[in-house]
């Protein structure tokens, strides 16, 4: 949902009217935002992924990107840990298993579709929005290309079309928004996965499914759903058989949603806008008064001494 001018005025009007008419509303003792109730998500079970990269192939096809540069049967692609880029909205990386004699672990990375996206918070033209369906979408029609979203994203997800001189865009996974909302389909990657490592559904259901898997197989899984609470929670979540920091996930991101990080500063802005004119006008009056006193002292001094 993007806030249009009409929505903003409507919200402001309702707030004002409610206040004036004293319509009883439920006030929270502390703000709590549970998010869009029926939003979708994807659960990625890293214990099932075999690294076939058919999800990469499907994603590129669905989004009109060229097929993955390194062919799917060429395993040398896993020699480096890749990130998403302007032509690849998802990548699968391989990590050695810390438990010796166990097979390596493959991890698919893409936009996490955060509950409170840092990119949306950062964008000065509100080009990003968290939709009711759960996908975080980008509006290229208003983007000015400042790339602050890329600076802000803790997962290093957004990519930029640096080689486009006139129409560069920020690009990333869209959770196949049109497919899931209008065509009743699964996201391309979920559909393509041959081992059902990816499960698409309501985020609340996915959390239940994940908890159940952990409960049923406590030896198979680390007791943590990555993305359940990280940076305020994400729509794309992960299960793993090894600690998450061993498979390329940052575990030091905390649970504070990113908009909270700048909220304090932004709240100080109206205070400065209001109090600074008061303060500095006072300073000006004070210094002007001191000048006047100095002037009158000078002239009275002259009068006493007489013209020199």
């Amino acid at each position: 949902m993007t806030i249009t001018r009409r929505d903003f005025l409507k919200a402001t009007g309702i707030a004002g009217a409610t206040g004036l008419l004293s319509i009883p509303t439920v006030a929270q003792a502390q703000e709590f935002f549970p998010g869009w109730p029926d939003r979708y998500g994807v659960l990625n079970d890293c214990t099932l992924c075999i690294g076939c990269r058919r999800c990469e192939e499907a994603c590129n096809r669905v989004n009109g990107n060229p097929p993955p540069k390194v062919p799917l049967d060429d395993k040398s692609v896993f020699n480096t840990v890749r990130r998403t880029d302007a032509k690849n909205f998802t990548v699968v990386n391989r990590f050695p298993n810390p438990n010796r004699d166990k097979p390596p672990i493959y991890v698919k990375r893409q936009c996490m579709h955060c509950n409170e996206p840092a990119c949306a918070s950062a964008c000065l033209v509100a080009a990003f929005s968290k939709t009711a369906a759960g996908a975080v979408l980008y509006n290229s029609k208003v983007c000015i290309g400042c790339r602050y979203c890329m600076t802000a994203c803790p997962f290093y997800v957004p990519s930029y079309e640096y080689d486009s001189p006139y129409t560069p865009r920020v690009v990333k996974c869209t959770m196949c928004y049109d497919r899931i909302t209008r065509e009743g389909k699964l996201p391309g990657c979920v559909e393509a996965c041959p081992v059902e490592a990816l499960t698409f559904g309501k985020r609340s259901d996915l959390i239940r499914i994940a908890r159940e898997r952990i409960l049923r197989n406590p030896d198979k899984y680390v007791d943590h759903i990555y993305g359940e609470h990280e940076v305020g929670g994400t729509s794309w979540m992960y299960l793993s058989g090894v600690p998450f920091d061993k498979i390329g996930f940052r575990t030091d991101l905390g649970i504070t949603p990113y908009p909270e990080l700048t909220r304090g500063f932004l709240s100080a802005v109206p205070l400065v806008l209001t109090l600074w004119p008061v303060f500095f006008t006072g300073v000006y009056m004070f210094s002007r008064r001191r000048e006047q006193i100095a002037k009158t002292e000078d002239s009275s001094h002259e009068r006493e001494e007489g013209p020199s």
């Binding site: 000065l124 080689d163 006139y166 500063f265 802005v269 400065v272 004119p277």
Partner: protein, 414 residues
């Protein structure tokens, strides 16, 4: 006796006006001959490289002219052109408020060059920003099209735009004195106090906002630089940078434009330099303490013994504490020369801090590092050169370093 038609008289008056206002009273030929100086030749060479690079930037895009990547979306043009440019242009609001709001009339002689530095500084920051933006023609969008009110960058955009207008209004009296438009000048002077107050508000907000941008990067900016106090750090260091730049710029101006300044002004000027040095020393000392509050706030003492930790110490001790003490020493000895050295050292320290925050300590835990492409350096140097040329053009024509005999100083009319 030649009788001129009215048309001929107007033409001649226009030519005289052009010669007087634009060509320093010389004929076009003489004026061009006078432009052949060593500095101008160097500037021309810089522009000879800079203009083609600009052409490539806007026809082939950022990939052709920068080393920016998806992991490093911000590079030299943001780190230096924008962040350093804004911090060092802060002299405009600092001196403006000192003279017009706090009533420190003794600094009146340097308020106009400070405001000019501020105005041109911000203007060329916007120019630099237009090189960096993916779609610079959409620069007005956050003001006219779509409002990202959750964004600190939204504030930066608005405030820089408004502040540019403010600095322009504050500089208008000089422009109108140059043009001889007395009524416009009167109107502009009346707006000075309001523009100054507004300018202080805007400066406070956008200087700190530039620091607040990095609040969204806790995982990327090294803990010794990432602190919730970073907006305050940027604001305080901008004030320091502004004062130091005024000392530096006035030192250069008094040498380069010495023909505009009389002997008495030179002596008085040294006293002003020391006064500014006193202010810089005091604020630097406060800033030094603040930096340590920041370290304590995050409890990152153990990080001081790492390579980046040592670099932090270089910045804080070598480029904050050291210039502070140098200023103190200069003030106590009443040495304007040493105050100028301290000012240059401080300016370097501000640049170092902004470079550290945006490029060195940023993405500190990524294996790949960013280093600007040569074209990025060319653009930055070209913009600085054009800034200097513009500054010189204005100072050679408008009453910036000298008082126009027909007009009393602004403060007497406020």
């Amino acid at each position: 006796m030649t009788v001129m038609t009215r048309e001929q008289r107007e033409q001649m008056a226009f030519r005289t006006w052009v010669a007087d206002k634009l060509f320093l009273g010389m004929s076009f030929g003489d004026y061009v001959k006078k432009q052949i100086t060593p500095f101008n030749i160097i500037a021309a060479l810089i522009l000879a490289v800079g203009i083609p690079v600009t052409f490539v930037r806007f026809t082939q895009g950022l990939a052709a002219t920068t080393h920016l990547t998806d992991n490093y979306p911000w590079g030299l043009w943001i780190g230096v052109d924008v962040l350093c440019g804004v911090a060092l242009a802060a002299g405009g609001f600092t001196l403006g408020s000192a003279v017009y709001l706090f009533g420190m009339k003794e600094y009146h002689a340097i308020v106009r060059p400070a405001v000019l530095t501020g105005f041109l500084g911000y203007f060329f920051v916007v120019v630099g920003l237009c090189f960096d933006l993916g779609r610079p023609w959409r620069l007005p969008y956050p003001m006219l099209v779509s409002y990202g009110t959750t964004s600190v960058m939204f504030l930066v955009g608005w405030h820089v735009a408004l502040y540019l207008t403010c600095q322009f209004v504050e500089f208008c009296p000089a422009i109108f004195e140059w043009l001889g438009w007395k009524n416009f000048r009167k109107w502009a002077v009346r707006l000075t106090i309001g523009a100054t107050v507004f300018g202080v508000i805007l400066s406070t907000l956008h200087q700190s906002a530039l620091g607040a941008l990095f609040l969204l990067a806790p995982g990327k900016l090294h803990p010794l630089w990432y602190t919730s106090f970073i907006p305050v750090f940027f604001l305080v260091s901008a004030i320091i940078g502004g004062i130091s730049m005024v000392i530096f710029e006035s030192m250069l101006s008094h040498r380069v434009f010495s023909n505009q300044i009389n002997h008495q002004d030179h002596n008085h000027f040294d006293k002003l330099t020391i006064g500014l040095g006193k202010a810089a020393a005091t604020i630097l000392f406060g800033y030094f303490c603040l930096k340590w509050v920041g370290v304590a706030h995050g409890q990152h003492w153990d990080l001081l013994n790492t390579p980046l930790g040592r670099w932090f110490l270089v910045e804080v001790i070598g480029f904050v504490l050291f210039p502070c003490l140098l200023f103190v020493w200069a003030v106590r000895r009443e040495s304007a020369a040493w105050a100028r050295v301290a000012a240059i050292w401080t300016v370097l320290g501000i640049i170092l801090n902004r470079v550290n925050v945006s490029m060195v300590a940023f993405n500190w835990n990524l294996p790949d590092r960013y280093f600007p492409k040569w074209t990025e350096f060319v653009v930055t140097i070209t913009i600085i050169t054009v800034f200097i040329l513009t500054f010189r053009w204005i100072v050679n024509r408008m009453p910036v370093l000298w008082e126009h005999p027909e007009y009393p100083p602004e403060y007497e009319q406020a």
